[in-house]
């Protein structure tokens, strides 16, 4: 082991270079967000927190956060109600269906948002349907692959079929047995799936912006507009957004490592 330690400078150098490269724009954005003026100079003219005040005082800021939150919560609920039972059924009762669901992983790459929104505009563009409902269903559908994959691991190992059926023998209804016996045993995997779904819905831009013609101003749409009107406030928003993603990434890692530990025990 000691012999290998000596040679670690190479991987360390590679990772350091990649990390510096990836983080440099974010660090620059942070300094921009606390600069009085930073245009065409190497260093900012002075430091200030006033842009943080400017952003939070903007009457459009909080409503756009709330709109993104509502959208994400709606998508999470649809995912729970529509997808979770089917994924349970495929994993526990129907391996053939599971085999078919595997093909979902191709979906996000062959039908990216810009392609899907074209179909949405064509189909629902001139029809009097509540577009926000369609949007919620569409975002749920594109979140399915990630949700499905994070749940698959959760169903491995335990005898869910036995648990589910015994609970019913003891007098539970199907829904009751599912909620009381199955859900607690897939908690970690379910949380990972829901968190990924939440984050994807919260940060969705292309479909929301084009399909609803920018009228439902989510956080990302607000960010784009702000970027073109007040760069300093937009840099504050970018930093807040980065921290938000960071918190989600931290929770995800915590959940996944707990799940791994639980499986090992």
């Amino acid at each position: 082991m000691k012999v290998q330690r000596v040679n670690k400078w190479r991987p360390q150098l590679v990772i350091t270079l990649i990390a510096i490269f990836l983080l440099a724009p974010i660090v620059a954005t942070f300094f921009y967000s606390i600069s009085t003026v930073w245009v065409k100079t190497i260093l900012p003219n002075g430091l200030t927190f006033k842009w943080y005040g400017v952003l939070t005082a903007d009457p459009n800021f909080i409503p756009s956060v709330i709109r993104s939150l509502l959208l994400a919560i709606a998508v999470v609920i649809v995912t729970m109600v529509a997808f979770l039972p089917v994924i349970f059924y495929a994993n526990v009762y129907n391996p053939k269906l599971k085999e078919k669901l595997r093909y979902l992983s191709i979906l996000p790459y062959s039908i990216p948002g810009i392609v899907l929104v074209t179909g949405l505009v064509q189909l629902y563009g001139n029809v009097a349907v509540p577009k926000i409902i369609i949007l919620i269903l569409t975002i749920s559908a594109i979140c399915l692959p990630a949700f499905y994959q994070s749940l698959n691991n959760a169903f491995m190992g335990d005898d869910f079929r036995g648990m589910f059926e015994q609970a019913q023998l003891l007098g539970d209804s199907k829904v009751g047995a599912f909620i009381r016996v199955v859900l607690p045993n897939i908690r970690a995997g379910l949380m990972v799936g829901l968190l990924l779904t939440f984050a994807a819905a919260f940060t969705e831009y292309v479909i929301t912006n084009i399909f609803l013609t920018g009228q439902y101003q989510t956080l990302k749409i607000y960010m784009y507009r702000l970027m073109n009107t007040n760069g300093n406030a937009a840099s504050v928003l970018t930093i807040i957004f980065f921290l938000f993603l960071g918190v989600i990434a931290l929770i995800l890692i915590k959940l996944v490592s707990n799940q791994k530990r639980a499986k090992k025990e």
Binding site: R10, P11, Q12, V14, I15, I18, A19, F21, L22, P25, A28, T29, Y32, W38, K40, I42, V78, V81, A82, P85, V86, I106, Y109, S110, I111, P112, G113, I114, V115, L116, T118, G119, V121, Q122, L123, Y124, L137, T138, I139, S140, A141, L144, A199, Y205, V206, I210, T213, M223, Y224, M227, A234, S235, T238, F241, F242, L245, A249, L250, L252, I253
Partner: protein, 273 residues
């Protein structure tokens, strides 16, 4: 209602309304004119007019270059992670997850702060007289490729990290004992094991770059001609909107991507066997 129906109804409703019907209608609409009649004219327009051919060419080119650069750096990166302490590995995976999800408008804006016309890079180039940095534009083809590497590299690392972690140090030691040198070991043992994952990762990086709209739009608006941008400008409700033409272009895109991923899967499955 039977319990099977209850089980599948919500699932089918979401998938049909949210995904399947729009895609089916999109494919059909690609064969319709603005008046709704059947026609091939959308397809002949796309393949005969330079503007659309250029969009296809640009998209393929930018995705190929970004995919190759992303792949090479992420092979190095994923290898380097596996050499570090377990705890460091976990932290780095958080970092790369984070970097991958930062793509889009926030990434574009950060890059404008650094490389934009009033950015730090320009100020540096001006003061220190660095010609190539002064001439570099984040809004150009090269700029877009640079921007893409910021999410292609972490994405590639996330896909390659797990398979690389499977490679055991003992294999290398065993090979050394049997008289193999390092490059022979990499060529005959490591490469064949990793090749399916490398191909798979490249296809994902390529497809991901092809479908990237948000980052490109946030950087260049509708100025850079690529498949996603052209589709976006055809369906945004403006004066030159032409939804059926956009449907045809989107159909070509989806068909090519689906084929690429399927062929890739086949190659990978054969190699794995």
């Amino acid at each position: 209602m039977g319990s099977k129906v209850k089980l599948f109804f919500p699932f089918s409703l979401v998938m049909l309304v949210g995904l399947v019907l729009p895609v089916v209608v999109m494919i059909i609409a690609g064969f319709q004119g603005m008046d709704g009649g059947f026609t091939f004219s959308n397809y002949t327009t796309i393949f005969s007019q330079n503007y659309y051919r250029m969009a296809i060419f640009n998209s393929l080119w930018i995705s190929l270059i970004a995919g190759i650069i992303g792949l090479v750096i992420s092979i190095l990166g994923a290898w380097a992670i596996t050499q570090l302490a377990e705890r460091t590995q976990n932290i780095l995976i958080i970092l790369f997850n984070l970097a991958a999800s930062f793509a889009g408008i926030p990434l574009a804006f950060s890059l404008i702060i650094v490389f934009g016309n009033a950015g730090i890079a320009k100020a540096l180039a001006h003061t220190l007289h660095i010609g190539f940095l002064g001439g570099f534009s984040i809004y150009s083809l090269q700029g877009l490729i640079l921007a893409y590497t910021f999410f292609e590299v972490p994405l590639g690392i996330l896909f390659l990290y797990a398979p690389m972690k499977e490679i055991k140090k003992e294999w290398f030691e065993a090979a050394l004992v049997l008289g193999a040198n390092r490059s022979f070991f990499i060529k005959t043992i490591i490469l064949p094991i990793l090749l399916p994952n490398i191909i798979e990762t490249f296809i994902i990086l390529f497809a991901n770059a092809m479908g990237t709209y948000e980052t490109m739009y946030a950087l260049t608006g509708n100025n850079f001609i690529s498949i996603p941008i052209v589709i976006g400008s055809l369906i945004d409700g403006s004066l030159n909107a032409n939804v059926p033409l956009a449907c045809a272009l989107a159909t070509i895109f989806a068909a090519v991507m689906a084929m690429l991923v399927l062929v890739g899967n086949r190659i990978i499955n054969r190699k794995r066997k």
